[in-house]
Symmetry: D2
Subunit: 386 residues, 4 copies
Amino acid sequence: MNPRLGRRLRYGMVGGGPGAFIGDVHRRAAALDGEFELVAGAFASTSERSFKQGAILGLDASRTYGSWADMAEEEARLAPDDRIEVVSIVTPNHLHVPVARRFLEAGIHVICDKPLATNAEEAEALAELVESTRLVFALTHNYTGYPMVKEARELVRIGRLGRVRKVVAEYSQGWLHQPIEASGQKQAEWRQDPDRAGPSSALGDIGSHVDNLVRYVTGLQIESLCADLTSFVEGRVLEDDASVLVRYGGGARGVYVTSQVSVGEENGLSLRIYGDEAGLAWRQERPNELRVLLADGPAEVRTRGSAYLSEPSLHNTRLPPGHPEGFIEAFANIYRNAGRTIGAVLAGTPPEPLDLDFPSVREGVRGMRFIEAALRSAEQNGWVSL
Amino acid sequence: MNPRLGRRLRYGMVGGGPGAFIGDVHRRAAALDGEFELVAGAFASTSERSFKQGAILGLDASRTYGSWADMAEEEARLAPDDRIEVVSIVTPNHLHVPVARRFLEAGIHVICDKPLATNAEEAEALAELVESTRLVFALTHNYTGYPMVKEARELVRIGRLGRVRKVVAEYSQGWLHQPIEASGQKQAEWRQDPDRAGPSSALGDIGSHVDNLVRYVTGLQIESLCADLTSFVEGRVLEDDASVLVRYGGGARGVYVTSQVSVGEENGLSLRIYGDEAGLAWRQERPNELRVLLADGPAEVRTRGSAYLSEPSLHNTRLPPGHPEGFIEAFANIYRNAGRTIGAVLAGTPPEPLDLDFPSVREGVRGMRFIEAALRSAEQNGWVSL
Amino acid sequence: MNPRLGRRLRYGMVGGGPGAFIGDVHRRAAALDGEFELVAGAFASTSERSFKQGAILGLDASRTYGSWADMAEEEARLAPDDRIEVVSIVTPNHLHVPVARRFLEAGIHVICDKPLATNAEEAEALAELVESTRLVFALTHNYTGYPMVKEARELVRIGRLGRVRKVVAEYSQGWLHQPIEASGQKQAEWRQDPDRAGPSSALGDIGSHVDNLVRYVTGLQIESLCADLTSFVEGRVLEDDASVLVRYGGGARGVYVTSQVSVGEENGLSLRIYGDEAGLAWRQERPNELRVLLADGPAEVRTRGSAYLSEPSLHNTRLPPGHPEGFIEAFANIYRNAGRTIGAVLAGTPPEPLDLDFPSVREGVRGMRFIEAALRSAEQNGWVSL
Amino acid sequence: MNPRLGRRLRYGMVGGGPGAFIGDVHRRAAALDGEFELVAGAFASTSERSFKQGAILGLDASRTYGSWADMAEEEARLAPDDRIEVVSIVTPNHLHVPVARRFLEAGIHVICDKPLATNAEEAEALAELVESTRLVFALTHNYTGYPMVKEARELVRIGRLGRVRKVVAEYSQGWLHQPIEASGQKQAEWRQDPDRAGPSSALGDIGSHVDNLVRYVTGLQIESLCADLTSFVEGRVLEDDASVLVRYGGGARGVYVTSQVSVGEENGLSLRIYGDEAGLAWRQERPNELRVLLADGPAEVRTRGSAYLSEPSLHNTRLPPGHPEGFIEAFANIYRNAGRTIGAVLAGTPPEPLDLDFPSVREGVRGMRFIEAALRSAEQNGWVSL
């Protein structure tokens, strides 16, 4: 139950049709804490597939729509006690902005998959639209939902690392090491299609997570960067590998390594941060631990759920230490926090500060600027400013 | 949606009141796949606390009960289309059997937390009752729900390890290393109270998982054992540490190490099995990987979700490799499989073979026999036969 | 250089002929710090093989002997400035005592491989002989030479763990999972031959290390034990797998798991100790780190060579953290410490306390008592006292 | 014994005085296999400290020299059966070339620490000098001495990875995260002094290892690079952190991350290589294993000493799997291979092909070119060609 409303939040979904990976994740994330109820959806680009998915999900046929435009229009007409309060957008990238815009205009809160847009300009315009409403907009940069990422952020925030000097962040996957988009793998297909993915593949799909994760944990702003983009698989228009040298405001430096062709890697997102007093290391594939590296003593292995962790970390966990939480749980933290904030807004009460911890539309704009700068750097073959 | 019924299965819960750990886990596990709907409950031993929890969960007050006896009676009176189809029993151990018995008698399927009972006799009687009905009874030995545990089982089954020789299994926790039951920690309190926990603590709470996990993966039956039980914390009646030497039918040997006072350990369940051709190693705290140890080649690191895994493993996973699944997901596999089997029974159709993969009441009887034998061995200070 | 003598200590070797594993390790261990010089040897059971090995090692032919009896006799006749000051005994087990006895009687210090003897009685008699001389006797229980094992010992000694409750120790190897002794593998052959190995294989060869390591780190004395011994490989007389439940004086409990048939395991020696305040974990295959498990804070990962380590740990290391030291270095610590103690004795000066840290003949007697008790327990199929 | 000479090779050392880290490592590496004998040395920049060290090492005073110039001169005058056959140069960087030159001119083989020189020009000139003699010159890029690095190289060489696409290499240390050179730490002092270290610190000291390791394993040649160099600690002239984007001939890409200020890191050298068919991962701090990442199957964990490894890997190891070898053993492989090659040359016989596997003077020239290119790139703030 949403604690402010005393009932579940009604949500609808755009995208997430049969076989879609991320739509399924969103639905499980929404279900996990029992604070959301799926009541409507436009799940696919064809009416037939949308209705098929609605039926699989047990949705009332009257609330399944053949297009997202219909859905926005029809839902807006329903009585306030019936209509969806929030929409989850889980389409390919190019639709994020138009869909979000339409639902925002209908007064409906938005939870949107990342990257926010396909260019910074439309991202900025969307952010301005959001800010002109009183609506909540959450971007599912899900990796910041992990409790030990939140612990990392707290450690930086309270100065445990001293002044941050160096960031080493990596997101290596291997699933695109062969041209599987050519043989009809749907996930690969749209990610390698500029019309749907936007102007980048590795950067947009996973580099954006690296950028977001680093900013979330450190608060550092990029001043300039130098990117090297490569398409290793023959015939690809978009890069499947990108490495970026980064200079932040204040003098810190970073290295971002991202790849979709690092064969044998699964979902190898990792983050290390070194300050002048201590460092930290986290790996998404072992998300329940955070290593804190000390100058003069043994490294600490902090574990999710432990009583000694910070309040933001403990706020975002469900189980005691040693009972692994994973990807869906981290995702669910974004849903729960955004949902509770939406509940507070709907109830006309101030949200809990700890619930405000989810990625915003502004974060999406910053992400688009990072991607555009990296593309510009690659084009110019050198350093560029942001 | 339950695929056979085209709707969610209606379930009620006995136990799982405010602050209960395992009740919350069961609810999330049931929610994760959207195939269950919680519609009734008797959540606590006092009416007040039960209604409080019902309200928190958004349950209709008419379906919240002050006692499980009332709940069984009232639900049985409801129209078949309204009443619960399955009950989840998440009470302290001593209530498992009486509660299960009552709901079975009311024709309601059962999902029950472990250990099944507080002695083998009542466990056996319950098993006979179950078998005299056509009802499904699932025991939530959740660790067998992990996809890589299922892979381990398949590797043994297809002979990849050769003939199993040696089992090394451990379940080490540290949370009871001090007498926290004396200061009112509820989880600790009932586990150290013979009236509610039964005649053992470490064996009943975690040794039972070890026993179950080994049998699930290897199929080995214990012929004799020698146990050493200790209460390290002063004032404890029940053992908080137990080590067991095991001899299986066919000549294999095992060592089980369990402890609730291994300070600093969190939920340290691990399993290693060595055959005459290969071995395997799995750790619950890193559940997404399974190491296969070969005689003449490099060890393999198998990872959850990988295409090369066995059908039973892949049947019980939701995400691609590298996207960690955890404790709740494993638990949810038991719910989903049991729920689908119940759905098939309700629909009068044969269940899918892969859905039959959940722990049965018979498994609970075997577990009780293991615990009783270990207690007998400790009393006699030597080897005993099963 | 031996610091007390200002020159290298002259040593001879008995055993360690062509193809011998452990003789080679002893020679490298002696060479590593430049404090020993090999000047004599009786390397094999045949004169021919002994001379062959002497030539390979560049030894003066006049100091290569056809038998260890000759060597003891001839070396004793040499001028004090020429003859060996210490003998390294690296023969199969059954020769340890007779060889040691002969050299001790010739006034020569002894470094002897483990286990000390093939039964406790001859071990005890040898210990008494050693004690009746002023000679140094070092037993190469090499695993206690690792710097992080010494750190573990210090942590226990200063009370960092509180009172020790539980020990979990394991030594799992897989190299004998098939009957390679039947096809002439020399290392396997003598270890499975009661005439040369003594009455046990797994216990004598590796169980003795577990016993020694636990006692070294914790100081606990075994009061009673229950052992389960198995020969998994057909045709074997001696056990290739042994598990032991242990009760120590003062109430602590232990579990020892040892195997030579745990296929895929290499040299899997590990030790965990849990006190009432903290625990620790160490693995021989990653010897440069020691994990300290705390009740109320994150686990610490202590690393070899770090400035925060104890004096005994730092005394036994050569390289900064992150520059791995291994098996030979640990072995060399026993050589160096024993050699420096011998140097002090030869110089007539008191040895440095930190140099006295090497396993003694008494430790060997205790080891034999452990093995004999385990064999007795297996025979009686139950608990036995020590 | 050197196998071709039937005796130990006589070597002298320049540098390696009291308290020097790397000189001590060289001496242990030389001692480990019993194929070298230290007979002469000019150990320090002052005569007094050189003689002090000679005495500690038990050297004949007539063979201890007050300066390396004297040593070269005097040793050359000794009878061929007395004088050193090879010199180990373990001085600060700026002396490598002049010392090497002098000994080469005296007809003495050279084993020299890295980096070869302080600029590419003098490195090239030295290489030409070496090539004009028939003398052996080994550069102690010791990390290529690890058996699992050799296995990695073999896997690339035989095509197991397919065509190499991506390299991710890192060498992160934390020991210079504070200005310890200011408080007289000798190792830090010279490394931050351009007169002795040359024009770089992080690149010269550890970046050179990364460059060498990548080239050794992959054979890739760098075509262009873009480096970002930073001095994080106030007052430093030389960089203490350097990240480099790399483009190789043939289209592969690389990222090199090096730092001396990554607080809490010890000696964090790691290498990953991704081809179009498989990948591999190795970490210096766990040097005994190599992970092979496959496209369609579980990752393999290859372990040092295993029978299934390649000949070059097994040629460079001493112990069975599970008995850790470390830093000194890897270093010793360079000594042993170079020493055996020198022995073959001295004996007038062709060296064994497997013994020719040690870093050459040409490798040192390539290393200097890499460093110079990186410095140039930093100066120009952009990509540069090699």
